[in-house]
């Protein structure tokens, strides 16, 4: 029985997705074969965690996370876990579908002097497609087009009035943006992005269309 539920679950239901259990959550892995000009997918099913404080970096090293990003940047560990540094002393980690790092780290993380666990319940959205930049220019004041695909910045900004964390990487050969927000804003953010995306020929897709790993 899946006890986790995405903040977007009910909104995705109307797209008749094929649900698949992932990490205790029903994830919309596929919808139809159409690849719109802008594709939005819900990636909330991934496990994630946060840790902050002056000792956070030391603790992550002690847990075998050797390569840590610089300020407001991100890396992926060899296992595929995304590690983003938010500011100087806060870290956000999210597992790829095959990684289990955050599960392991959460079980060992205990608050201590200079070490504060952060429970992350973010809604995670993946955004990709040829007209994605048009969507971003209507919703966010950051000029994402100015960055290269290879840039590894973790950008804390506001999108349609919602505080978000944004990174980008290649998804199926195309730049895809990963967007995380507080789950209470998820419905508003999703509906607003999807509404604009649909005007630009975009739409919702299953997560597997952007991260094929989830359907393997």
């Amino acid at each position: 029985m899946e006890t986790r539920r995405s903040a977007l679950h009910d909104l995705l239901q109307q797209h008749n997705p094929r649900w698949s259990a992932m990490n205790g959550m029903l994830a919309p892995v596929s919808m139809d074969d159409r690849r719109p000009t802008i594709a939005l997918a819900d990636a909330s099913c991934m496990h994630r965690m946060g840790v902050k404080g002056s000792q956070a970096e030391v603790w992550l090293h002690s847990q075998g996370i050797e390569m840590l990003p610089g300020i407001n940047a991100w890396v992926r560990t060899p296992e595929g876990t995304l590690v983003a540094r938010l500011g100087r002393t806060e870290f956000f980690l999210e597992d790829s579908p095959s990684a289990t790092t955050t599960t392991r780290l959460r079980s060992t993380l205990r608050a201590a002097s200079g070490l504060t666990p952060v429970i992350r319940q973010d809604c995670a959205i993946v955004l990709s497609g040829e007209r994605t930049n048009e969507l971003l220019t209507q919703t966010c004041s950051v000029n994402f087009a100015a960055y290269s695909d290879a840039d590894r910045f973790a950008i804390l900004t506001s999108m349609v009035g919602v505080s978000v964390l944004v990174i980008w990487e290649l998804h199926t050969g195309q730049r895809g943006y990963r967007i995380w927000c507080d789950p209470s804003f998820a419905a508003f953010l999703w509906e607003t992005l999807l509404g604009i995306a649909q005007e630009l020929g975009g739409g919702a897709v299953g997560l597997g269309a952007l991260i094929p790993e989830v359907v393997r």
Partner: protein
Amino acid sequence: MSSRLPPVLGEWIDRSQSLTIRFDGQRYAGHPGDVVSSALWAAGVRVLGRSFKYHRPRGILSLANHDVNTLMTDDAHINLRGDVSPLAEGMDLRAVNTAGGARADRRRLFDKLSAFMPVGFYYKAFHRPKALAHFWERFFRRMAGLGEINVDSPRLYTPKRYDFRDLLVIGAGPSGLAAGLCAAHSGASVLIVEENAQAGGSLGYARGGSDTNHERLEELLAQAKQLPHLEIRTGTCAVGYYADHWIALVEAQRMTTLRARAVIVSTGVMDQPAVFRNNDAPGVMFASAAQRLIYRYAVKPMHRAVVLTANSEGYEAALDLDRHGIGVGAVLDLRPEGESTDLAQRVTSANIRVLKGYGVSEAIARNDRLTGVRIFSVDGQARLPIPNSEVLSCDGLLMSVGFAPAAALLYQAGARMSYSEITHQFYPRELPKGVFAAGRVNGVFDLPYRLEDGKRAAQEAVRYLGFSTQPNPIVPPQRRWPTHPYPIFAHPDGKNFVDFDEDLQLKDFANAAQEGFDNIELMKRYSTVGMGPSQGKHSNMNAIRILANLRGETVDKVGTTTSRPFYHPVALAHLSGRGFHPVRRTPLHSLHAELGAAWMPAGNWQRPEYYARSDQDKNECVRGEVRAVRESLGLIDVGTLGKMDLYGPAAGEFLERVYAGRCANLKVGMTRYGVMLDESGVIIDDGVMARLSDQHFYFTTTTTGSATVYRELTRWNTLWRMDCGIVNLTGAFSAMNLAGPKARDLLAKLTDLDLSHASFPYLGVREAQVADVPCRLLRVGFVGELGYEIHTPAEHAHHLWTALMAAGNALGIRPFGVEAQRLLRLEKGHIIIGQDTDGLTTPLEARMEWAIKMDKPFFVGQRSLRIVAPRQRKQVLVGFTLDKSHSGAVPKECHLIIRGNDIAGRVTSIAFSETLGCHIGLAFIIPELAEEGTAFAIRADAGKMVSAVVAKAPFYDPSAQRQRDY
């Protein structure tokens, strides 16, 4: 008869297609590419609108997007400017601010009554006689304003977007195009925005009788097409300049907020009118307006013209008219010395009479059409009117007597402008970093120099941007100054208009100054000069000159008014557009919807006010929900509460400082109510703190206070540098309150946790699995029954709620909303911060002395409380009841308590308690009336006085047995 010219090289219209529109009920034809004004003018319509105050007939003045006397509506869109609105098939337009249309406006009678409407009459009318103030108010409300809002008009779709460029060039005239081309060659990304439908500016229409300028324009545009980094965006107006080079760009259907690293302002100049009698008659227009009519729209502006000028541009316009078969009766040159360039010879060669040192004293109109102008020699000291002065017959008068820089965006960017007594124009003296000016706005007028000035600005900009290391070029010299210092000729019979927006005459300025409003800002507000829809584009400069003349000072000394965004009229649809107003939803939102939730906003959250039932009204639903909690079981979503984790060795000490009560001695596994104050001792928030371990606290805040509290605590933690970390879990955690006598029975079905009173007492906190998901359970009693506030990560909330409801079905569980919770807590006398307190309420006034520990070494607000504690309270919070037999008007929140003729307090909460059988409430009241049992009166709706009695709160279960020991 159509005034359409034969095809003109470079015309904007598409003659292969025809469009039909209606204006004031009459049908007219035009072409794609026309604006409304050009199509109507081509059809012989000369009265396109009426003036604001006197309802005088008005026609084309500038045709440069500033003709605010030609406002029209098609009902769906109000206040369309005729000179900028593209013609569209089927348009059904009528002039605004008229009764019966532009031509037959019945309000034109006001022109005859102008003597009774002097400057400032709006203000004066309200003063004396006082008895007529309401009459005037109604009159002004009916008469004032332009256009009427049609509430049934369809919503316009106007998205917003951001855009980014290395360089923004505002204005695609010759200097702007030259600048953009030059900059784009450097590799910088360049955007040129142009408010008109096509690029080119004056290159397209100020031709001086030849097509050389047009050919030059074609060359520039061809070059622009070859540059991949250069975009020219026409139909786009830069309307506001904000910090850090953020510029608002408005297009027909979209607003763009553009961030540029550097900006070149090449916005050109605005023609300034000459002031003489009847200078507003249809047919009197700027020379550039006539040229635009010819070269953009192939429309004959008039059949016979007179040109009033003080510069080369007027001579060029005369040549353009002559070239297209329009008779030019004379060129009146205000300058005694006349034109010094070869233009003078060319005009003379065209057999056009040139009168040096001549002006116009009066325009003569008949049947709302110009028929002639009375001229006079401006040499000497002649006073108008001059008897038997010559009248030149014409149906069009072109004015080209000077310019004002279109410098509003420069002002907004922070540029400092100075007035030159030589050129009689303001020019940029000091520009902010990254801002450059080019062309006529920069005081450069001759075309070759304008092109060079554009390149110069571009070179400076690309150097600033780091695309070039070349030294900044030398600025070319300015060769001439085309602006007349005082083109204002007072005619004693009046109607010498200075401000066409507001119908302000020359004498109005003299009167305003005489009444003491002789400062430019004061005069602006008293006379309303520059406050009309064009914001003084054609009047501010002359107003400054007039005031300088009246005060005997220089223009520079008089100064200018402040230029603020927006520079141009912007439709409200563009501003409202797609609004981003985030709404928060708890993870249980869809479940509430399925249960029939009636929604209410709580801060930016959506919360169920109550759960609607088809057979019950709202009150019955709420009372049913209350009964369920009191008698069996209720479940409410309280996930909107602020929720924070606090970790670290100093966590207890930190809370000790930010809460007024004691915190550090809170035992692990227990909770405590806390109240938070600001530094002035005012209550700002409250909540429950739970100690989960020695170094781990979890605490709640009010729904609307979470972000503020988190920010404030983070600030304190930064200042105090304590060894603890705060995490805002408001959205990450869900919370629901299971309350009622059967709460324990239900919970026992879903958890292995020992729920016995001994093991999990009142005010305890435990972490446990409930329905197989991790939870934090707080045994608190906000609603006054046995209750468990169950907190769980948001992703588990749906599962948990569903499990609780399913398991509670047999126990009569019922979801309850905010309205029921408010009543339940009121029965317990629990306050709601922000409702039962305000921005001045201290715990002493709220009678919460029990929640503050003044013997602590420190807490935020303690010092202020020490100061105010000895003072007499002005008001205190008390409970009250209405008589059980009360019927009739029921007071509402914020209704006043009255003693004698004085206000003695106000109601903060009130509701009918079915449990208690009467209305109960909380109120702030003066201490003299605060004693239990004291009767007082509340003034309810319609002034009805309602008796109430101070009562001890809690009203229900005062010993708290039900929540404590059940």
